[in-house]
């Protein structure tokens, strides 16, 4: 059987590969031909080859059941998502603009709160944000950069317009999948890869390290940078060690660090060694048991004191969660206008705040048609998709919204764009999103593309890996869509 697209239905969705009339979009033509040449057996063989390389490298997450964990790989789809050069250029400008505004916002919020004083954002919204850290008010961070690494989730609606679904300004994960997906594709489709001129992604770790070195305390030109991980049982541990390896720096766990005289040191075979910049993959709450959660065994007692004293820098900064609060999200377009005097290049998804009376009324009357999200959850948790929800679930969220209006927002259901995916012997459309990784250092850089996440279950709109999502490689083209042939 041929792995062709004859049976493919793009349905009533924006399809990345096919236009409405069933015509393949030009930048996908070479790919279509390549897949039509292959039998399903060949495609299966390539899929097994790719999966085996993930398993051998230990790119797995652990699913616990019974007395021992089984290691699973994140599902990987062989059909890449392709983004033409001009489309990417627009996305890139939009993301740089957005992260610049968010960093200016964070500086403002922890200093004069001009944006509140001038009536753009109500004070109440900031004060009640779960991740606002009063401890940081007045603290100057190097170069005013709070979010050094941002993972912004983009989706495309029915007309193909790119929209921002959320900003992840705390510890966005997934970049290792992006890099490994590329390695896997190069291995299994070397020729196809050559015929498209795909922009490379492999300099990400070097750019990340440059961004981290840039923000060393006291302008130290040769800082010691480390990755701080919760440990090997964390589901993202592979990524933490992957990045440390690719940057050539140490990976540490809380107990490897000690604070003395407001300085952070790591415990080495030759004594204590001072640490200057910490790329921490531990949430604020667990970072310092003397300041935040007392029960945290992952953190480093006293590290916030050293941070406040300016002797160590953290990436991302403490307190960035106030910027990826889903209520704050509502105000990002206004922030862009306020701080930069520009119109947003990438629009938000239409959002209703249950904290605002008119919006709340609308939300409560239309729960079965809306997506409701808890303001401070991530990873697809604390979310209800109205049309897919049971009566019971809807009532649960209704009660929750009435009890805590600040805690929820609602959005219309966006029928995310779909991309052809190879599922059990045939090619079918699946919903996808895109998470580019934006680095703010000396300049703001984005490696071309991002992680394309796929809702592998038929009809599902949830792409998070914790909810059964998979991923595919994302190709940003250098020119116009591969050499003609």
């Amino acid at each position: 059987m041929q792995g062709s697209f004859d049976q493919y239905e793009s349905g009533h969705f924006f399809d990345e590969m096919f236009a409405g009339n069933g015509q393949v979009r030009p930048h996908y033509e070479l790919l279509r031909r390549r897949f039509c040449e292959m039998t399903t057996a060949e495609i299966d063989r390539k899929r097994v080859l790719a999966e085996k390389s993930y398993l051998n490298q230990g790119i797995t997450f652990t699913v616990y059941s019974g007395d021992e964990g089984t290691e699973r790989i994140m599902p990987f789809d062989l059909i890449p998502r392709i983004i033409p050069a001009d489309e990417w250029e627009m996305i890139e400008r939009g993301l740089v603009q957005r992260l610049s505004a968010l960093n200016l916002f964070l500086h403002d919020i922890y200093h004069g709160q001009r944006i509140v004083k001038e009536g753009i954002i109500p004070e109440e919204i900031i004060r009640s944000a779960k991740h606002f850290r009063p401890e940081l008010v007045g603290l100057d961070v190097p170069h005013g950069i709070y979010i050094h690494i941002c993972g912004t989730d983009l989706i495309r609606g029915a007309d193909g317009t790119y929209m921002v679904l959320e900003d992840n300004g705390r510890c966005p994960s997934g970049v290792s999948y992006l890099l490994e997906n590329r390695q896997a594709m190069k291995r299994v489709f070397p020729k196809l890869f050559n015929r498209y001129s795909v922009r490379p992604v492999d300099r990400y770790p070097q750019e990340l390290l440059a961004a981290l070195r840039h923000v060393a305390p006291h302008g130290n030109p040769d800082p010691t940078v480390v990755v701080l991980t919760p440990g090997i049982y964390n589901s993202a541990y592979f990524e933490h060690s992957f990045l440390a390896r690719a940057m050539g720096i140490e990976i540490v766990v809380g107990p490897d660090l000690v604070v003395e005289n407001s300085r952070v040191f790591m415990k080495t075979t030759k004594g204590l060694k001072q640490v200057d910049v910490i790329y921490r993959r531990i949430d604020d709450d667990f970072l310092d048991p003397t300041v935040f959660r007392k029960d945290s065994v992952l953190g480093v007692p006293g590290i916030v004191g050293a941070y406040r004293a300016g002797n160590v820098n953290l990436a991302n900064a403490l307190g960035t969660g106030v910027a990826d609060d889903k209520v704050t999200y509502y105000y990002v377009p206004a922030m862009i206008k306020f701080y930069l005097g520009e119109d947003p290049i990438l629009p938000n998804v239409e959002t209703f705040l249950s904290a605002v009376e008119n919006d709340r009324k609308y939300i409560l009357e239309n729960l079965e048609n809306l997506v409701v999200k808890a303001a401070n959850e991530s990873g697809g948790y604390g979310m209800m998709i109205g049309p897919h929800a049971s009566r019971e679930e809807i009532e649960k969220f209704r009660a929750a919204i009435i009890a805590d209006p600040r805690g929820y927002v609602a959005q219309p259901v966006i029928s995310l764009s779909r991309s052809p995916c190879y599922c059990d012997g045939s090619i079918e459309g699946r919903h996808i999103d895109l998470r580019p990784y934006i680095l703010a250092g000396k300049t703001t850089t984005i490696i071309p593309g991002g992680l394309t996440r796929v809702a592998m279950r038929k009809g599902s709109l949830v792409v998070n890996s914790s909810q059964g999502g998979g991923s595919k490689d994302t190709w940003v083209l250098d020119g116009e869509g591969g050499e003609p042939c």
Partner: protein, 322 residues
């Protein structure tokens, strides 16, 4: 280097070496059994009890197994998860340590150890084992050798590598002394005399389990006696599994880590290792047998344990603070 990383490298390496030693010991014992079963009709217990004694696993085995059969012992030493010294446990612990230092070791090393781990947990490992235990142990030893080769060829020979060497040679010295000691536990069948056929076949098995047969025969002119085998495995200066060679290389790794001259010591691990090294450099096989071979090996194992403790205390003292 982080103390935690040094500690993980040291133990990762020890467990890899221990897995290899177990595989070798089992392989050789199966062969011995094939040689002698028919002629002498010794009970299985006679053949397998020494294995448990030398691995110091006897108590746990007796608790969990009513009878001492070859199959029980082999599966206990190979696949038993509850046995912390089983090959499966050793490889799992080594992999767990490797996981915590993945950015220190090369990707190739990790992949090799991870592949082995996945294999041992797969049905195909059990199938190969059931079909031919000898092939199974051979291929296991091959995989572990590959790990050593990959380590040498792909990892920077810096501090982390030296901790791997220290762990490897310390464990290897320990396992060579245990393999030699097996012979002490094996009773000769009645009517057999020391130096007779059975005796020398058993000594040859000891040599084989250290991959020392060919090297030994090159210098022994075809004669195999306990005296000579012990001398070779304890005192030979360049065979890579002899006690003397292993302790010498352990000493070298320790000095490379600290940066001090080999003629002196700068920490307790180096001092203890230096004492053991000079003993091996200047003792004779006559003196060893005067002490008693078993007693000598026992003492050596104790000293190796002390060196290991001192090493961890010297370099990884942070680990054990709180």
């Amino acid at each position: 280097m982080l103390s935690r990383v040094a500690d993980a490298c040291f133990w990762l390496s020890r467990y890899i070496e221990r897995a290899e030693a177990n595989a070798r010991i089992l392989d050789v014992n199966i062969q011995l059994l094939l040689d002698f079963e028919d002629q002498h009709g010794g009970t299985a217990a006679n053949h397998w009890q020494p294995i448990l004694a030398t691995l110091e696993d006897q108590e746990l085995f007796n608790e969990t197994h009513p009878d001492l059969s070859g199959d029980n012992v082999m599966s206990f030493v190979t696949f038993e998860k509850k046995n912390p010294h089983s090959i499966l446990s050793c490889v799992s612990i080594a992999r767990e340590n490797a996981r915590t230092v993945r950015e220190q070791i090369s990707s190739e090393m990790w992949e090799q150890i991870n592949r082995l781990y996945l294999y041992l947990h797969s049905p195909s490992a059990r199938a190969t084992f059931a079909e031919s235990p000898i092939d199974f142990y051979r291929s296991l030893v091959d995989s572990l050798h590959s790990f050593q080769g990959i380590t040498d060829a792909t990892m920077t020979h810096g501090e982390g590598w030296e901790f791997l060497q220290a762990g490897k040679f310390l464990e290897r010295a320990d396992s060579t002394s245990r393999v030699l000691d097996i012979k002490y536990h094996i009773l000769l069948p009645s009517g057999e005399r020391v130096g007779g056929n059975v005796d020398s076949t058993q000594w040859m098995a000891v040599l084989r389990s250290c991959s020392a047969m060919e090297a030994f025969l090159k210098i022994s002119h075809g004669r195999v006696s306990g005296w000579q085998v012990a001398e070779f495995l304890i005192l030979h200066d360049s065979f890579p599994r002899s006690l003397r060679f292993c302790v010498d290389h352990l000493d070298l790794a320790l000095h490379n880590i600290s940066g001090s001259e080999r003629t002196h010591f700068s920490n307790e691990a180096e001092r203890l290792c230096g004492v053991l090294r000079s003993n091996l450099d200047y003792t004779t096989i006559e003196a060893v047998f005067r002490t008693g071979l078993h007693q000598y090996l026992d003492q050596t194992q104790l000293r190796l344990t002390e060196i290991s403790g001192a090493l961890v205390k010297t370099f990884c003292t942070w680990m054990h603070e709180d």
